[in-house]
């Protein structure tokens, strides 16, 4: 019986390692599943989920709120959906996004509603 769904594989990495790691995973045949952000006391906790043969690997990193993180759209173009979402809802800053909606991907009534500045 297949129990692949039970595998919970979270790997902590440094923000500077992100691009290299993602490139390595892509070279090994992984596809991007999703990216999401959680607001934590240290800043933002980002999770990049990659799938190969129905097994999921999650890369985990934490960045201070004001720090920029490299965009992975140069590796997985489809990541523009998630990066723009995190930029709009949390205010996460990405460097070198292949497709940047400049905070207007979602039509939100206030800037970064999931991480309000007031």
């Amino acid at each position: 019986m297949s129990e692949l769904w039970k595998i919970q594989n979270f790997i902590s990495i440094e923000p500077t390692q992100l691009l290299d790691k993602v490139q390595d995973f892509k070279a090994e045949g992984y596809r991007l599943g999703q990216v999401h952000c959680t607001k934590v006391s240290e800043g933002f906790e980002l999770t990049y989920s990659l799938d190969k043969d129905h097994v999921l690997t999650n890369l985990r990193l934490v960045i201070p709120e004001e720090e920029e993180i490299m965009s992975i759209t140069g590796v997985y173009w489809a990541a523009f959906i998630y990066e723009n979402e995190m930029q709009d809802l949390f205010g996460v800053k990405f460097k070198h996004m292949a497709l940047n909606y400049g905070g207007h991907f979602f039509k939100v009534s206030q800037p970064t509603p999931w991480n309000p500045k007031d």
Binding site: Q8, G33, T38
Partner: protein
Amino acid sequence: MGKRTIIPFGPQHPVLPEPVHLDLVIEDEKVVEAIPSIGFIHRGLEKLVEKKEYTELVYVIERICGICSFGHGWGYCHTVEGLMGVDIPERAEYLRTIWHELSRVHSHLLWLGLLADGFGFESLFMHCWRLRERVLDLFEKTTGGRVIFSVCKVGGVRKDIDKETLDEMVTVLRGMEKELKELTDTFINDYSVKNRLVGVGYLSKEDAIELCAVGPMARASGVVQDIRLTGNGVYDKLGFEPCIETAGDCYARTLVRMREVYQSINMIAKAVELIPDGEIAVPVKGNAPKGEFMARLEQPRGEAFYYSKGADSKFLERIRVRTPTNMNIPAMVKTLQGCDLADVPMLVLTIDPCISCTER
């Protein structure tokens, strides 16, 4: 090079039940670029994690979408059960699988109807939706609801289905299957349908992988990807094999969904045959512990992600739902490049976009 014009497509458009906007850059009736824009109805449901206890949150999560509502509830409960180390009874797993596959039947019939409407075949549209009504009747009979069911809970399911009703469900579905065969014949063989779908919106296997497409969109391009292969639910016991086509066009995406309707009916019939007696839920009490759990489910539109992060409290720290349409937008943008302007509605429809899901 011809003159370039930008045509706005949506957010309100006859083929779009929900708002999404595309800026189509046109050159001599050919689309050279499509720039998507969403976010017109973003509801911020994930943020409600701060205000609803983990047992209540399932009611919010299943309201992400009115078509794949059951699956969203299941996916969320799955993450909380994983977080809390809860094993649910086998009968509950069967019931969840039956309701989920029933959702796939009604979702695909809804989509086939919308597609028929999109290419101007009104009677085909009405027959697809007429059949879909019978599935909604089955939902009403077994859950009490036709759109939102509220039968999934952390620890199992809220309602059981008796043997008589399960048998009746199979009889209704088998009866439907006969009528569906006539519709299938039209979808597969009618020359006007083929004219609108064959060779349109081609997505190669390489592009499907590169653009991380999911669900029928990926499977119609020959990518063997289906979360039901990971062993969740009781799919292992139902002899599940994914439906794969290789042509990668709108026609192939239609074939995948048509085949999946028959497959789901067969799996429901087999599940009814195998379902064991027993409890339908286990009690779940106390705080959700610190930790996290990531789960996936094969929704009718493709792979969906669910994530819960506990904080030793009745309230979770974070939940995340990534719906299939999110992941198919890049592939849609790619297939739009180079297509005829007249084919744009077909192409947008064949990813089966669900904007409510995307803007949960």
